[in-house]
Symmetry: C2
Subunit: 441 residues, 2 copies
């Protein structure tokens, strides 16, 4: 399985178990958890029911404060690193052992929903509360992690926090020059939110391989399978391989009335052709698992009576098969070249921003999650994550697993995103029980 970057561990002979009595006493404060989800969603730059929470914005800072407060109330000791990854720790009775971690993100792309990521942060804190209430004492310490900027909205870099935790030196380098759409540098933005006071300090974010004995993320499925099949818990075996690309075309522009059609080299039409070409190449793969999206397409100068002189596209493509996904990228590149030639425009940029390999879940963690679901009498199935997550990068430094719960029609990244509190509570229970197994192991 060379193409998978999952961190291999030896399979344990038996998974440590929490007593059945204790499990039956697991009680999730569903009402309180729903209230937290709703309250957190108010830290948004767009009106309810949409959520927009951009890295290091005022609303992001408010939301972080809210989470740190909850961590404190749950008795966790808090640490923040230089880019704002937040760690809440419950010390185990053998604190010298490597800890077990769980967590997710709370940033939200423009006009999205209130469950993506949030369920895995608030749910993790509630899992800690469940365990405390049940009388559980962790052997290995337990940590809840809030990852900085899983979404690529502000600086075009997805999973910024977890990529850095995994020791990505190239990313660290690129943070020195990256700016947002308002030309604000990464470090100025981070400092405005109270982080990165010392730019030299960035390597301190890196975690060594083996820093955790396990990492588990609870997340809404963001797809329709669990809901359609009426299953409570998805146990993720692998995370699809994402890639993102930026493309720029440049033409001569000109006046929409005066420049006759044969004299045009319209950068906007080049972009339109490429967007359709991406769709075509994705469908040519022949696999249902290949997806490709043009989520950003911008024209310059953007006036009704001006032929576009520049266009900018951002393309996302993913697959559980890395080679198939790379074929889409290659074909898209060929199309961009051909379109530029035919239309007499210049392909001034075709940049692959990231081209990550897929990740495999760790078998012992998968087993622990299966056992937990069984003990809780919850239906469950093994599945693939088509969306990527911080787990994709945590897999580089720790054995990794993910728990999915159903969400309404598979909707995500839009205001209609929804998961019932019953499904969320089930996910929290499975997470809590899995943490006991991994902590005692």
């Amino acid at each position: 399985m060379e193409q998978f970057s999952g961190y291999p561990t030896q399979e344990p002979d038996s998974v440590s178990s929490f007593s059945v009595d204790a499990v039956s006493s697991f009680s999730v404060d569903a009402q309180g958890l729903q209230k937290q989800i709703d309250e957190l969603s108010n830290f948004s730059d767009t009106p309810s029911p949409s959520v927009t929470r951009i890295l290091y914005s005022k609303m992001d800072v408010f939301a972080r404060r809210y989470i740190k407060n909850l961590m404190g109330l749950s008795g966790l000791s808090i640490r923040e690193d230089a880019v704002g990854n937040i760690f809440g720790r419950w010390e185990g009775y053998e604190p010298e052992l490597t800890a077990v971690a769980t967590g997710s993100h709370i940033d939200a792309i423009p006009y999205s929903g209130k469950y993506d990521g949030v369920v895995g942060v608030l749910g993790a804190i509630e899992a800690i509360n469940v365990l405390r209430r049940s009388g559980f004492k962790p052997r290995r310490s337990l940590e809840v992690i809030l990852f900085t900027s899983e979404e690529p909205t502000r600086f075009g870099i997805s999973c910024l926090g977890s990529r850095l935790l995994a020791g990505n030196e190239a990313l660290m380098k690129s943070l020195e020059t990256v700016v947002d759409s308002q030309n604000i540098s990464f470090f100025d933005a981070a400092r405005a939110a109270g982080y990165a006071n010392d730019e030299e300090d960035l390597p301190s974010v890196f975690l060594k391989k083996g820093s955790y004995s396990a990492f588990v993320e609870l997340h809404i499925e963001q797809g329709p399978i669990l809901e359609e099949e009426g299953i409570s818990i998805g146990i993720v075996t692998a995370i699809a391989a994402p890639a993102s690309i930026k493309v720029d075309f440049e033409g001569n522009g000109g006046h929409a009335g005066a420049v006759l059609m044969p004299n045009r080299n319209d950068a906007g039409l080049a972009a339109a052709e490429l967007a359709l070409a991406v769709e075509k190449h994705v469908l040519e793969s022949g696999s249902i698992d290949t997806v490709g999206t043009v989520g950003i397409l911008e024209l310059h100068p953007g006036a009704i009576n001006s032929i576009p002189s520049k266009s900018h596209l951002e393309i996302d493509t993913r697959d559980i098969n890395e080679m198939r996904r790379n074929t889409v990228i290659e074909k898209t590149h060929q199309s961009a070249i051909t379109i530029a030639k035919n239309r007499g425009v210049r392909l001034s940029e075709f940049k692959i921003i990231n081209q990550d390999p897929p990740a495999l879940s760790d078998k012992s963690i998968t087993k622990a999650m299966q056992a937990a679901s069984q003990e809780l009498n919850l239906s469950h199935k093994l599945m693939i994550s088509r969306a990527y997550h911080d787990s994709l990068f945590m897999a580089r430094i720790s054995p990794m697993g993910m728990i999915f719960i159903p969400c309404y029609k598979g909707y995500s990244h839009k205001p209609e995103e929804y998961a019932s509190i019953e499904d969320i509570a089930n996910g929290v229970k499975v997470l809590a029980l899995t943490l006991t197994k991994l902590s005692l192991y």
Copy 2:
């Protein structure tokens, strides 16, 4: 010629003439005029060499002040109407006669150049100076007009000032509700610039048909013909018929990783298809005179990992043949319906913003311009204006004519827009001499 809205007048038996001696004394202050063009270009929201001057912005207000100052220095008495059309009047010795007017605009779309419109305002003021220096005394009063918002940038309405002058009641009505992209109302924007203090006062902008005995506009060609053929002066016989359309598609959006291709209804790809369909339908007309442009294409939410749930296009199409242009509009509408159906998106808007008829120049004015060019020994040719101008609407209330001068490669609406000061000075001379003929007539 039913399809033309040109204002018909009787052809005069002879065009009144200015003495040949006086003509030979015509001197344009080319250096001063170039300096004014350069100075005016500094009132811009984007860096040189680009110019961005949006209706009622601070830079627009500064530029208007600059023009009023020049009008005052040229001895013109200034009047401003409720939307900021500015009139500078040189009283004739028979002031009870209807005046002869000339003028253009100074607003500039984002990242455009410094000659479009400007040459017809600064050039008109310089033409007045030329006539004063030559000792000319106007019989009919002469007026220089600066028209408000020829470009549709801010409120999506082109030729806002001249449309209103021509008594457009529907436009007046729509100004009560229109907002810009920042949700600022027309009236708030106008008040911020010192206009529209009384919303009820808008009908005072209307001018009666016959308010002017003639209107002449000097303008860069915005096309390559004069330069390619080495001709100094273009005499416009007709202005092509412009139309503009706004289109919105809506789909379900969703997560770029999780929603599989067969389950998508991507509003962005619908927009891409429609942009290419516009080009196709324009080319199908079979005439070189048909043009169509998608200058605006916007995606919502505009995130790399989000399937576009909404898209917005603005389409400009023009022709000298109104029926042919309307065929493009109809085919585009049909395509929008078909694309929406095939992709399962909703065509939530297909709105024709304006669909203006072409305008014919007045024959007596054309003759006066031809005679002026001949007397000045300047090569000239009759031609069509493919771009529209305030003249298109002034033709509804006054006999109309236009003078074109060459511009570099036909470039317009971009920073590379350029006209040599020699060509501009030639245009000013032809304008000045034409004004004498029309004033004395």
